[in-house]
């Protein structure tokens, strides 16, 4: 390209707008990178926490919807006496649903769960698995009454309350939520101060330019706009980075989660008028939701910090 073409080309692409975000980034790279990185860390932790909290909440919902009492029978207990027991329980009017699982059915379930592990399959036969009865009560408070009836029966090996599992999970979920919220709150505060200081320093560096712009008739918004855009861009860049990394990690961990949640096919996150959003197995919808949440969080922290910085350092 000769010089004339070069000049014509430059004229054609004449940049008349204010200095772009990337020009600013190039001029003060360390402050900008620190700000973006801090937002990234905060939103990354937030993303991971949202998955853990969402997963735990899904597990909780799963167990809450499962039979709440499981009765394991000794081998000598015959089907007829089990039917009598079922009738006795139904007579209380407190049984919502029940399901009898014979030794053979128990073996089938076991085989399904361990189909990828031939060694485990070889060692187990129907004989060593107990028959069981899964009972769901119409209300959790009837559970202990139903358990008392069962325990008086002969031939009962063990009565397992699903309620115990649920209670433990509730306490875990609540603890995780509290720790997560406190941790993320402090990360957000740190991010705010780093962004606020970074934008404040940039305003100080451009003091002369700002004075000139005021003298030639720029409105406060015209002067503030680039700094607010900068804060918002940091927020959106940090959010996108965090989303990519959290998503990659979650997809990478997918096989491990499958083996950890053995036997649990799906974990619901939201159930609303016939629509169910599952947190597990991972779907595009869940990653889209995470992207929206992180992007909004990045936008809010970027916007808020820059607005506070310009109102503090850019008084007209």
């Amino acid at each position: 390209m000769n010089t004339r073409e070069n000049i014509l080309n430059m004229t054609k692409n004449r940049s008349v707008s204010s200095i772009s975000f990337f020009q600013r980034l190039r001029r003060t790279p360390y402050q900008s990178i620190a700000a973006i990185f801090m937002i990234f860390i905060t939103l990354f932790v937030m993303g991971v926490f949202l998955f853990i909290a969402g997963g735990l909440s899904g597990i909780l919902t799963y167990f809450e919807s499962k039979p709440q009492l499981t009765v394991f029978f000794k081998d000598e207990k015959d089907k007829a006496s089990i039917d009598t027991l079922i009738d006795k329980l139904k007579a209380t009017g407190r049984v919502a649903t029940y399901k009898y699982i014979s030794k053979d059915q128990a073996l089938a379930i076991y085989r399904e769960q361990n189909k990828n592990d031939p060694l485990l399959l070889e060692m187990v036969t129907a004989d060593i698995l107990p028959a069981s009865l899964e009972i769901s009560a119409t209300s959790p408070e009837y559970l202990s009454g139903l358990a008392d009836i069962v325990k008086k029966e002969p031939g009962i090996d063990e009565v397992v309350f699903q309620k115990d599992v649920v209670d433990t999970l509730v306490s875990w979920t609540s603890t995780v939520r509290k720790i997560g919220i406190v941790f993320i709150f402090f990360l957000f505060i740190s991010t705010f101060f780093i962004l606020f200081t970074s934008i404040g320093m940039k305003i100080a560096l451009k003091k002369e330019e700002i004075e000139i712009l005021k003298l030639v008739g720029a409105t406060p918004w015209y002067i503030r706009k680039p700094f607010i855009y900068e804060g918002v861009t940091y927020g959106l860049m940090g959010a996108t980075g965090a989303w990519v990394i959290v998503s990659v990690i979650m997809l990478y961990l997918s096989p491990f989660i499958t083996s950890f949640l053995k036997g649990i096919p799906a974990l619901p996150l939201l159930e609303m008028s016939g629509f169910t959003l599952q947190i597990w197995p991972f779907s595009p919808a869940i990653f889209l939701l995470l992207w929206v949440v992180l992007l909004l969080s990045g936008l809010i922290i970027g916007l808020f910090s820059s607005l506070v910085a310009v109102s503090r350092y850019l008084r007209y």
């Binding site: 008349v16 330019e209 000139i212 712009l213 003298l215 030639v216 008739g217 720029a218």
Partner: protein, 225 residues
Amino acid sequence: MILFDSVSKKYSRSTTALDDINLKVEDGEYVFLVGPSGAGKTTILRLLIRDLLPNHGTILLDDWEINKLPVRKLPYLRRKVGFVFQDFKLLSDRTVAENIAVSLEILGKSRSDIDRRIDEVLKIVHLDSKENHFIGQLSYGEQQRVAIGRAIAGEAKILLADEPTGNLDPKTSWEILKIISDINKSGTTVVMATHNVDIVNSLKKRVVVLSSGKIVRDEHKGKYS
């Protein structure tokens, strides 16, 4: 129309910049403010864009009472006036075209209007070959022309120029003066503070002479001394 009615300005108790100034400039006039350093020339110009506030008196610019203007209207006052600063006040990290574009962007002009107007202004100030040069790559005279370009780009009806030929060689000074005279001929009011005796004497325009903050002479088709 510009009107100063009994305007006084003190920088401190002992420093009086302007003392009871009465001055009226009609639309389309060309006025030189002359006088020694410290006479109050720059103060008059700075009062007109409310970079300073007077201690007494009233200043009108068209129907705007400048000293009582709410702060939120300040940008709109400054857009009514093109100002060529003594120290240029150019944005050193931007090109010639970008410096001129600033005053058009502020007005909210479209991209195509900005591009078109930049081309026109660059021709007027004879900088069409240097539009992509940064300010540091220009001579003093060229920087002065960028400052004039920025001041006239928004087509304000009033142009204020503070020593636009200061520090320039005579040839460049005359070039700058020719540009400003052409702008005045197109109907723009020009108020220029200057020290340059030759320019004032040869142009035979209205001359307002200031001394120690007072108007000591106001002559149409006047001379420096």
